[in-house]
Point group: C2
Chain length 110, copies 2
């Protein structure tokens, strides 16, 4: 099973596939605060379904952006964490944040 070999040459197009859909970027935003459990991620993203979050986290694992660690405790504890490559997304999200906050809030006079 290949993970990235069908990605386009262009980095921007590649980014959009690896982080396809709005929830993907928001999940990364939360994980940039540190490792989180499934319910912790879900609680921070009102509106996301368990199915979508499960699916997205699995795809991140397959792309090598997130690790899933199950601790042999009772009750069992499962923690999701950005890998080093995933952590490097901080530069992209910082750039998004800085740009978006610079966009003037213009209200038409009419």
């Amino acid at each position: 099973m290949s993970r990235c070999d069908d990605l386009p040459e262009c980095g921007v197009a590649r980014f959009l596939i690896l982080l396809e859909g709005p929830w993907a970027t928001l999940i990364v935003r939360e994980l940039l605060h540190g490792p989180l459990r499934f319910t912790e991620i879900k609680d921070r993203l009102p509106g996301i379904s368990a199915h979508t979050l499960t699916n997205r986290l699995r795809r991140f694992e397959a792309s090598g952006l997130v690790t899933r660690t199950a601790y042999p405790e009772i009750p069992p504890r499962v923690v999701y964490e950005l890998t080093e490559v995933g952590e490097q997304l901080r530069t992209v999200l910082d750039a998004m944040n800085a740009w978006a906050l610079s966009v003037p809030e213009v209200v038409d006079a009419d």
Copy 2:
């Protein structure tokens, strides 16, 4: 009609609204090369429909990211161009590009 007042406080969430959907970022990627006509943008983005492109460009105009200039020529010429705020998206797309090209192409051995 307000354009940005219903945007969230968080810059990343705001970015995702202003550049909602994969085509939005790819349209910006093309316009970062300079002003383009509608058909020129469409030809560079195989798979995009005229309807989607029209709608997306209108939303960019409403957000102040793109200008639309009609030249009184025969046949009429209409050119789309990034505004200064739109042009500043270059930093975000550069960050996307750099990060995505750094993601290792790992192929499972099985």
